[in-house]
Amino acid sequence: MRVTTPSQDFIRGIWEENPVLIQMLGLCPALAVTNSVKNALAMSAATFFVICCSSVLVSTFKRFIPNEVRISAYILVIATFVTLADMMLQAYAPVQHKELGAFIALIVVNCMILGRQEAFSAKNGVFRSLLDAMGTGVGFTIALVMMGGFREILGTGSFLEYSLFGPNFEPWVIMVLPAGGFLMLGFILLAMGFFEQRKKAKASLAVESSS
């Protein structure tokens, strides 16, 4: 395995291997609940809680989990924490819980979380796994808030429900509808690919000129 430092474990999930924008994992919540920044934040917080708790638990008990049943055990762990997150959101943030609806329960099948358990927590120590989970969680949050921010600004003309353009703004309603999620994700990936390509071109130019 590639040797990494703890700080690399954390940073990696945020940008270099961002779960949504680079690995293309966890797209279901990224498309479904990002029609406002508030929903994106609530979903990110719940997912952050689940991925951190699951990673700590899986890395702690990895020795006791036989290889044959590891996937079932991971799913069990994840599902437990999702249920807890669901109940706590319903008790302490009922309005957000109502907004997110069924998508809270669907965190169980967010393959980003299971992916981190299988690829990292199952082979690394508790501390490193927690760092990795936190990095992935932050990366997920950044992607969701980015989607939610752009969609809310274009689709309703507000940011965090604070009106930006005054009453004369004609909202681009499609952006808060499901189709807008796909459009926005496409635009963001397009922009990222554009910058990545420019960076590569610059790097190769630098190599050529130096040689």
């Binding site: 395995m1 680079i22 044959e68 049943v69 302490y92």
Partner: protein, 244 residues
Amino acid sequence: MNEDGMIEDVQIEESTASPSQENPVQAEVSTFRLVATLAVAGALAGLLIVLVNQHTKPIIDKYKAEQLQKAVYEVLPGVERYTTYYLVGNALSFALPEGAKESEYKRIYVGYDNSSQIKGVAISRGESGFQDVVQVIFGFDPATGNLLGMKVLDSKETPGLGDKIFKDQAFVDQFFAGPATPLVGVKAGAGKGKPNEIDTITGATISSKVVIDIINHGLEKWRPVIDKGIPAAPTDSVDEEAKQ
């Protein structure tokens, strides 16, 4: 960093994916251990969920009860207090039979004005909408059959479209304008000015028709029972409870 780097990383991780190769001890695991691991994990998970549920359930129930109470006063404008009546057998009763579980009985909420006259009846009812069950509470005047108000309690209708059944104030206001029943849904602007017409929302026709259906079906089911008569208002102690 670049694309090659990522692929390389994944491949290396995959080569160590099965610990059984590095760790021959784990290669032979008895069936018992497999079952036991999952059973223990399942039991612990269950325990944890029950513990948290015991803590959060009272909070959730209290919130739901508060929301329901607020909703009843909202759909019965001008009501001073209300009493919950249960459908016991075929008649209404404010008291449940001995030892009966409250949650098993269907109920209506009868609202009174300050001179203890019945002002309206609120009914909560759910039916399948576009996505999931839409739960609606509505109030109507049993004397005339006209609606007094409507509120969507629970819905998972499409954000931006179906959720207009509770976010579009113009649609909601129609139910507070005292329309006659049974309601008829018409395309916005295509109505003939009849008192029982409700303009459906463009782009959310199914969701708006569901609301109309819920109200019509609820009235169909409950009006015969209510018309048989609502027993006299119970003692003050019950009223106090309802008002809090």
